[in-house]
């Protein structure tokens, strides 16, 4: 199981949002699990081709994920995952 935390910015679209303990051996699988709990969130995180949106970041164990296109970064039991939006001005 990995612990998944979300930026509070997503709470306005998913009011029931809270930290989750989820199964998944890759980021891609993890997002599939997230989608099953919060239907529609995948569209907030991913482009239509399945890549991570340009201004969304995912950190695993304090490191930014690497494979933003295929989401193949692997996860191990006990990992801490943080999903948040890129910082921007204006």
């Amino acid at each position: 199981m990995v612990k998944v935390r979300f930026t509070s910015a997503l709470k306005q679209f998913f009011p029931d949002l809270r930290t989750q303990q989820l199964e998944g051996v890759s980021i891609k699988e993890l997002i599939t699990s997230i989608e099953s709990i919060y239907p529609g969130m995948q569209d907030y995180l991913l482009e239509e081709d399945g890549s991570l949106r340009k201004h969304v970041n995912i950190f695993v164990r304090d490191e930014m994920m690497v494979d933003r296109h295929r989401l193949s970064d692997t996860l191990t039991d006990g990992d801490d995952v943080l999903i948040f939006q890129a910082l921007s001005g204006g």
Partner: protein
């Protein structure tokens, strides 16, 4: 009468009270860029297109004037490719239109140039493949972006007497007409001049900024184009250019027409493509009642000091005697007088992307 104002940081709702004063009713989607507003006169459903900086493009609707909003499934390009073979992705939702009083259809125009339709009230949208696969799109350089990465469909106009007959306006490609509910499309750009192209008379590659069909005389259409102001009296078979008063730029984005008089329209010029400010820093509205043979400034009440504001293509609307426009600097003006006398609703908004009169 209510007006919806889509700004770069939220949707404002105003009511024009019986004493003709505006009253702010509500703010929705605070902090988000509302780029598209459409009110379906058949169902009275309000639709908005939101451009999130992080989370992509979203479509929301409400059936109770904003008391409760729901997110619709957004149109998807999944499985479709750009001309260069790259997967197509939704970049922006630009326009929406109903498919006529006798139809359940909804049309939706997007960047990168895809027209979508829904026959189930907006539950799902499907890409119109005849336009996406149009022969004019087979080569690079016929359809291209203007102030955007890719071409976008900003105007969808339905013949009110025949819901199978519609026009779309694409920046940049031009005007396309369908007589069979979108099953086939023909470019309708004869008479337009694309002065930025090697061949200004090119059939495709034109840059209409806004297109409006006349509700009573649907053979009459007006367009504010990148290269001037045009009308047609024959359904787009031939466009005629008209010129503003000598010395005044015909460049601009926004256009309004008189639903009772096809010869009458209003424009709000911009100085030039290179200098996107009010001409001579003077914000003015011009009116013609004779298909552009003559124009007069109808600008009483507008600022008399230097003004940088311009008005974008979806930000000027007219319905009955109400005319209203919002500017890129967040000024919102309206008039209810037959001879316009503009009054300020607010000078403290942010960039106005779209205006809709309910």
């Amino acid at each position: 009468m209510q007006v919806l104002i889509g700004t770069a940081k939220g949707l404002m709702v105003y009511e024009i009270l019986p004493d003709k004063t505006p009253k702010e009713l509500a703010i929705h989607f605070l902090g988000f860029s509302v780029n598209m507003i459409f009110v379906d006169e058949r169902s009275h459903r309000w639709w908005v297109g939101i451009a999130h900086r992080h989370w992509g493009q979203k479509v929301h609707y409400t059936d109770d004037q904003g008391a409760c909003w729901k997110e619709a499934k957004r149109p998807s390009y999944q499985g479709f490719k750009m001309i260069n073979g790259a997967p197509a992705k939704l970049k922006e939702i630009w326009s929406m239109q109903h498919g006529g009083a006798d139809s359940q259809r909804l049309w939706l125009g997007t960047e990168p140039g895809g027209l979508f339709s829904s026959t189930n009230g907006g539950t799902t949208f499907e890409l119109n493949e005849p336009l996406w696969d149009h022969a004019s799109r087979e080569k690079e350089g016929k359809w291209f972006g203007a102030g955007s990465d890719f071409p976008f469909i900003h105007s969808i106009e339905i013949n009110p007497h025949n819901s199978s007959h519609l026009y779309v306006a694409i920046s940049c490609a031009g005007i396309f007409e369908s007589l069979d509910n979108g099953a086939s499309w023909q470019p309708r750009n004869k008479g337009l001049l694309a002065t930025y192209l090697p061949n200004p008379n090119a059939e495709v590659g034109q840059d209409p900024h806004q297109l409006l069909i006349h509700p009573d005389s649907p053979n009459v259409l007006w367009q504010q184009n990148h290269c001037g102001i045009y009308f047609t009296k024959n359904g787009g078979k031939l466009w005629t250019e008209v010129f503003l008063t000598k010395g005044i730029s015909s460049y601009g984005f926004s256009l309004a027409i008189d639903e009772n008089n096809p010869a009458r329209s209003w424009v709000i010029p911009v100085e030039s493509d290179q200098r996107r400010v009010a001409p001579d820093l003077k914000l003015e509205v011009f009116e013609t009642s004779n298909f552009g043979q003559s124009w007069k400034s109808v600008s009483k009440g507008l600022p008399t000091t230097h003004t940088f504001d311009i008005v974008l293509r979806k930000s000027f609307k007219r319905k009955e005697n109400l005319m209203i426009f919002g500017t890129t600097n967040g000024n919102l003006f309206y008039t209810l007088a037959e001879t316009p006398y503009w009054q300020l609703i607010s000078s403290h908004l942010t960039k106005v992307n779209a205006v809709c009169i309910v």
